[in-house]
């Protein structure tokens, strides 16, 4: 019975959504602002990946807001779980041989992948959010494989605080220098090279570390609180 009501509700919802998106032709929306950004992004920011130009330069405040939302969610979950720094773990079943070995093999690969995504955020698809999530997944994989191998809350907390502060301070420096918050500064460099796009890679680095530390913190605090 419950199943059928769920399906009925979902069908209704999908009809509404379908009705809403039918008039839209895929790939033909009037890109009023999009066109302008396509034309001027490279000059304005020096980032080869235009998505990064939008995420960090044109809509940098949105990114800061999203970072804060993630932080808020992690803090709220922390309050609900009600532990600050419990090192005690439950007697969770030990992981099997496959998981333990795969974790050891995958961990360095994931780490490199995450750092690549973060550091090349201004050149290729990806960036701080994605890289940070991979980073968190890499560290959590170790916890999964060996429940004694815990993520240290104190360390992640400090990394998280410093990274978040670094993001805002990078914005405040441009506020002090040019009177505008979160304006890209530093030399733009040569388009497409690793050291280009001014302050954007630094922002992405801070973002990635913050997201990674936060998610790792969240996952490990979910994983080992006593029942």
């Amino acid at each position: 019975m419950q199943r059928w009501t769920t399906i009925l509700f979902l069908t209704g919802l999908s009809i509404v959504l379908f009705a809403i998106i039918t008039p839209l032709v895929l790939g033909q929306s009037p890109m009023l602002v999009g066109k302008l950004i396509n034309a001027s992004a490279v000059n304005d920011t020096g980032a080869a990946n235009l998505v990064t130009a939008v995420v960090l330069a044109y809509r940098g405040l949105d990114t800061l807001g999203e970072l804060a939302i993630l932080f808020t969610a992690a803090t709220a979950i922390g309050i609900i779980l009600g532990t600050t720094d419990k090192t005690q773990t439950t007697s969770s079943p030990t992981a099997g041989f496959i998981v333990a070995t795969a974790a050891k093999v995958l961990f360095p690969l994931l780490l490199v992948f995450a750092l690549y995504i973060i550091l090349h955020g201004h050149l290729t698809p990806g960036g701080g959010f994605q890289g940070g999530a991979v980073l968190a997944a890499a560290f959590f994989l170790l916890t999964l494989a060996d429940s004694g191998n815990n993520i240290k809350h104190k360390v992640t907390q400090v990394i998280e605080a410093l990274a978040g502060t670094a993001f805002i301070v990078l914005g405040l420096v441009s506020f002090a220098l040019q009177g505008v918050f979160l304006q890209p500064w530093l030399d733009k460099g040569e388009l497409g090279s690793l050291f280009s796009a001014g302050s954007l890679p630094l922002l992405y680095l801070a973002l990635g570390l913050k997201v990674g530390a936060e998610l790792a913190n969240l996952l490990s605090s979910l994983a080992n609180v006593e029942k």
């Binding site: 199943r3 769920t6 399906i7 979902l10 895929l26 998505v51 079943p93 995504i117 698809p125 990806g126 960036g127 959010f129 994605q130 999530a133 991979v134 968190a136 997944a137 959590f140 998610l215 969240l218 996952l219 979910l222 994983a223 609180v225 029942k227």
Partner: protein, 94 residues
Amino acid sequence: MNIIILVITVSMLVIAAFYVVWADSFFTVLAASSMVSVGLVLLFVLLRAPDVALTEAVVGVALTGVIYALTLAKIDLWKINDNDDNNDVSQSKQ
């Protein structure tokens, strides 16, 4: 060619989504909802949005499933080691 892949992807996505509602155990529900995310990843790649695909792959496929599993474990609804009966959605409601 592209259209065929698109159709396959979308139908896989829809079937997986229906299975989320139909499935009996939480384990299956999580697997199916990760499957929906996999479908979305393919869709985003086909629509040339690699950024979004990357995000969906990490968050949708991996992290969301893990978070759900951990939460279910916390409220004692996630028991892989036990018999399948204990994983039943309808039973745990009683």
